[in-house]
């Protein structure tokens, strides 16, 4: 169970994230938190005139699952079309992570998806 959850891949993205940082030239940006655990994610996304996500970075702090999930999600969406990304659901992220999560940790894992969608489509910040 632990060996699944803290697989090398997850830990690697947590310790050495590829897409951590902030962008100067952004056209989409959003941030949100899970007040219950203190996970915080800020995302900057750059979308070109063809609707392709050309660059994406995140910053934030929190548990390994939330931070790794942000990095893995961004890795996945760069180069994709906004319309395609729109259909990503929880299951998509869970499959990307390749781990089984209980209900509490699921919130951690899904925070980046929530932030990404809000950044791209302006979904309202959810009240906790």
């Amino acid at each position: 169970m632990m060996d699944d959850l803290y697989r090398e891949m997850i830990l690697e993205h947590y310790k050495n994230p590829i897409h951590k940082g902030e962008l100067e030239e952004i056209n989409h940006s959003f941030e949100d938190e899970n007040p219950l655990c203190g996970d915080f994610i800020h995302m900057d996304l750059e979308v070109d005139e063809n609707g392709i996500i050309t660059n994406a970075v995140f910053s934030g702090h929190g548990c390994a699952i939330s931070q790794a999930s942000a990095d893995i999600l961004l890795e996945d969406i760069i180069g994709k079309k906004v319309e395609e990304v729109q259909h990503f659901d929880s299951q998509y992220v869970i499959d990307l992570l390749g781990i089984e999560l209980g209900p509490v940790r699921l919130k951690c894992a899904l925070l980046p998806l929530k932030v990404m969608k809000a950044a791209l489509y302006g979904i309202e910040k959810e009240e906790e």
């Binding site: 632990m2 803290y6 830990l11 655990c37 996970d39 509490v104 940790r105």
Partner: protein, 411 residues
């Protein structure tokens, strides 16, 4: 005298394994304690043998169930040093007890501009009801600050008393820092300043001998589920004069004396605050929990916890990168919250869980306290009568495993 292995035998949950084959190391009793067979049996016996609704039926079962219910109330009163058991109100839990005071006392007696005093170490259940009342009534709230070592700052408290608060409401034992507050002293000073005193006893009654009349408080709240009893039942103690003056809380059956098409009149205390069918089996289970703890002795339980806590404190202090919050080992109850390197508490708890070790991660329903300490979240271990030094040893091993997984292996 105090034999932990016999005590553990009373708790059937310790027969199970965690994640297949791991020994259960239960270090989350501050959230809720495990239950001894004696309590389960008492509730079972009621349901299989004596069950009926109470205070109403004129038949043998109703009379027996009522007698058991009221007997539980008497034994709980005894347990906390209260002579007059009509001062013992059954509620659902500590949270409901505090809300009851906010509604039935606060709404009646507090007025716009009035001042109330809480502390920086309160659980949300002793904050939010007062925030709600303050918004409704236009009250102002101040907080007794904590010192660097997690004790209440008594100098600041004395200064804040000059604002003549109408209510001083604070926790007996902090569920995060483990701090044991000087209840009798704070109560005496508050009374001199003319304030009514409410104490949140959720983390004290389960762990130390508490004599409410000796402490002199006006209201005292606690929950059965943290002291070997069932969920869904708690206590509000209130001084008779106060309870009698208060408005009722919820309206319905049991809390009335008489109802007409025009009006109603209110029942005597404590029934005035016990509208609707009570948690009968739970109250009786609570009585059994109190008997169970009494038979072992609260002083013995407290001494045992102090020993385990001291040992844990010493062991945890040797782990590099581990920072404990709150006062020294000899000034605290069986609660230790800590930070470990820059590893998030959720990750710590999850990895410990995989080894069969149950701890709490987060802000433990004390967000303002964490904000005050500039800590995002912490990991909390808490001890009870069934914990052993072996549990502590497993915890320490578990924490080293966390460090290893996160590559903080400066070990």
């Amino acid at each position: 005298m105090f034999d932990v292995s016999t005590i553990r035998d009373d708790f059937p949950i310790f027969n199970r394994k965690i994640h297949g084959n791991k020994r259960l190391v239960y270090l989350d009793s501050a959230a809720s304690s495990q239950k001894p067979q004696q309590v389960l049996d008492a509730m079972d016996r009621l349901y299989t043998h004596d069950y009926a609704n109470i205070h109403r039926g004129i038949h043998e079962l109703a009379e027996e169930a009522t007698a058991q219910f009221e007997d539980a109330r008497n034994r709980i009163a005894d347990f906390i040093g209260v002579q007059d058991s009509t001062e013992i109100v059954f509620t659902r839990n500590t949270t409901e007890s505090i809300n009851l005071v906010a509604h039935a006392w606060g709404r009646k007696y507090l007025n716009p501009g009035d001042h109330i005093l809480l502390t920086e170490m309160e659980h949300h259940s002793n904050l939010v009801p007062w925030y709600m009342l303050a918004q409704e009534k236009g009250l102002t709230i101040d907080f007794i600050p904590i010192t660097a070592d997690g004790l209440l700052n008594m100098d600041q408290f004395n200064i804040l008393l000059n604002k003549q608060p109408k209510l001083v409401s604070f926790t007996h034992v902090s569920n995060v820092l483990g701090t044991i507050n000087p209840v009798a002293e704070i109560t005496a000073l508050s009374h001199q300043a003319g304030a009514v005193v409410l104490v949140d006893g959720a983390q004290s009654v389960p762990h130390l001998p508490v004599d409410i009349e000796h402490l002199g408080v006006d209201f005292y709240a606690f929950s059965a589920h943290k002291m070997c009893g069932p969920t869904g039942i708690g206590i509000l103690y209130g001084k008779r004069v106060l309870l009698e003056g208060m408005n009722p809380f919820l309206g319905g059956g049991d809390m009335i004396k008489k109802v007409t098409f025009e009006d109603f009149s209110v029942n005597e205390i404590p029934y005035k605050f016990e509208a609707g069918t009570s948690a009968i089996a739970e109250a009786i289970g609570f009585g059994a929990a109190v008997d169970y703890l009494n038979a072992i002795g609260m002083q013995a339980i407290h001494d045992h916890e102090k020993e385990v806590t001291k040992y844990a404190y010493e062991q945890l202090a040797t782990i590099p990168g581990l920072q404990m919050m709150g006062p020294a080992a000899d000034q605290r109850g069986g609660v230790i919250s800590f930070e470990l390197d820059d590893i998030h508490p959720h990750d710590i708890a999850q990895i410990l869980d995989a080894q069969g070790i149950a701890v709490r991660a987060g802000h433990h329903c004390a967000m303002p306290l964490h904000q005050r300490l500039k800590v995002q979240a912490s990991t909390r271990v808490s001890f009870y009568l069934y914990n052993t030094s072996e549990d502590v040893d497993d915890l320490v091993k578990g924490i080293y495993k966390v460090k290893e997984i996160f590559g903080r292996g400066d070990v």
